[in-house]
Symmetry: C2
Subunit: 256 residues, 2 copies
């Protein structure tokens, strides 16, 4: 093998600094809530300028690893990663992937059917009364008159999230948020007519009842048919939308 010319530094300085600090955070050399040296000091230690340090810090902040406060007691602090923040980041990313067409809607629906029916089983085993109450609230809301489509969709999402939460499993919940949320843009296309809303709320209630009765398999089966019903409605909606989109595109003029 030829001489290994001591790994050329091809990445930028700010990138390197960000990587160094990130590594320090990830392997615990920088503890949660610990304060980094101030920016000037960091610049001096790394032998680079403050703007470059700041670019690195901004990157870390964007990755939810640090946050900064001003003032005497301020500085850049390592923050404790919370599932909520991570869930939001995952959701955003997943939504983007869906939006750009990386996944087909059929794939998404299938993933959702399978994972949510799984959640039903776990929820039946582990649900608390508070979980049931949360689901019940949303069902009641879904039966109110005069709800906008957005409100109905939002309540639908909250119901499914409550169901996932009822599994009592953190990692699963993290994953499921992404699946459920990234499904929203598609779900929002549906026009929920009156009787479809009622059917949806009824499905939700049957699922909730089964979970309340600790009958996981029944709940899972109900969820399957619920989402399958949704899929058929979705298919027709997608066709309508595709037709509309192709018509829209021909007026055209994409930029570059």
């Amino acid at each position: 093998m030829a001489l290994q010319y001591d790994e050329i530094v091809r990445s930028g300085l700010s990138r390197q600094v960000a990587d160094l600090i990130r590594a320090a955070i990830l392997d615990g050399r920088l503890a949660v809530d610990e304060r980094l040296p101030n920016e000037e000091e960091l610049a001096r230690r790394f032998g680079i300028s403050r703007p470059t340090v700041r670019e690195a810090l901004k990157v870390l902040a964007a990755q939810n690893l640090i946050r900064s406060r001003r003032g005497p007691t301020g500085g850049n602090f390592v923050i404790r990663p919370e599932p909520e923040g991570v869930a939001r980041a995952i959701t955003d990313a997943a939504t983007l992937l869906v939006g750009v067409g990386s996944f087909g809607s059929d794939e998404i629906v299938l993933a959702r059917v399978e994972t949510e029916s799984l959640c039903c089983k776990l929820a039946a085993a582990n649900r608390s009364d508070a979980d049931l109450a949360r689901m019940g609230e949303e069902i009641a809301l879904q039966r109110q008159d005069g709800l906008t489509d957005e409100d109905f969709c939002a309540s639908d999402v909250r119901f499914h999230r409550a169901l996932v939460t009822a599994t009592g499993n953190g990692p699963l919940r993290l994953m499921m948020y992404a699946v459920i949320e990234s499904f929203i843009p598609i779900t929002n296309m549906l026009i929920y007519r009156e009787h479809e809303r009622r059917r949806t709320a009824d499905s939700h209630e049957r699922i909730m009842m089964a979970i309340a009765d600790r009958e996981g398999d029944r709940a899972a089966a109900l969820m399957r048919s619920h989402l399958d019903g949704l899929r058929s409605v979705l298919d027709t909606a997608l066709e309508r939308r595709a037709a509309a989109a192709s018509a829209r595109h021909s007026e055209g003029g994409d930029d570059r």
Copy 2:
């Protein structure tokens, strides 16, 4: 309601600019592969300085929304979000959550057992011959002598990933990568003794066979017992580790 004093600008300039550009990307006003105006031009348009613009751009780059190239044809470009990149980001975040103790190892194992046995069923239905071949390769590798612990673990991860890929479901694969990978730090603690390695490889093979035979339920059951076996090994390892950790912590000495 009191007067809504036209939302005070409390967030920093770079934050605002990042939000504006991100919004433009997410709702399609900036298309994939489109080039943003150069940094000087952006600074002029937003009425701020270039370093501030750069901080905003760095944030977007950290979120995998843009990438930058130097030179005449260079600039900052909107990039197509790829599942791979998103999966890596999710994995990193999930790993961090695990590392900081947001999730218990029992939760993680349960999530993994349930989701992977689900994947077995789907894989049995959808697997291609190429998928089987990939799994077979890893099993063969796992039976080789002289493998380091790291190599064995890596092969284990690749086997499970191949299994997930065999489901043919993109969103599911995205989720599962996070579960499997974030499990690594825990898995790596195990010392795979010779006969445990053999048992693992045997389990893998039985699972693969069931999937090859399109027998999803059998594959799922095998996966369950495989991971349950892992769990019992893990429990004893965790106890050993907890004891070691409490001993280690008392010697202290972090940097600053």
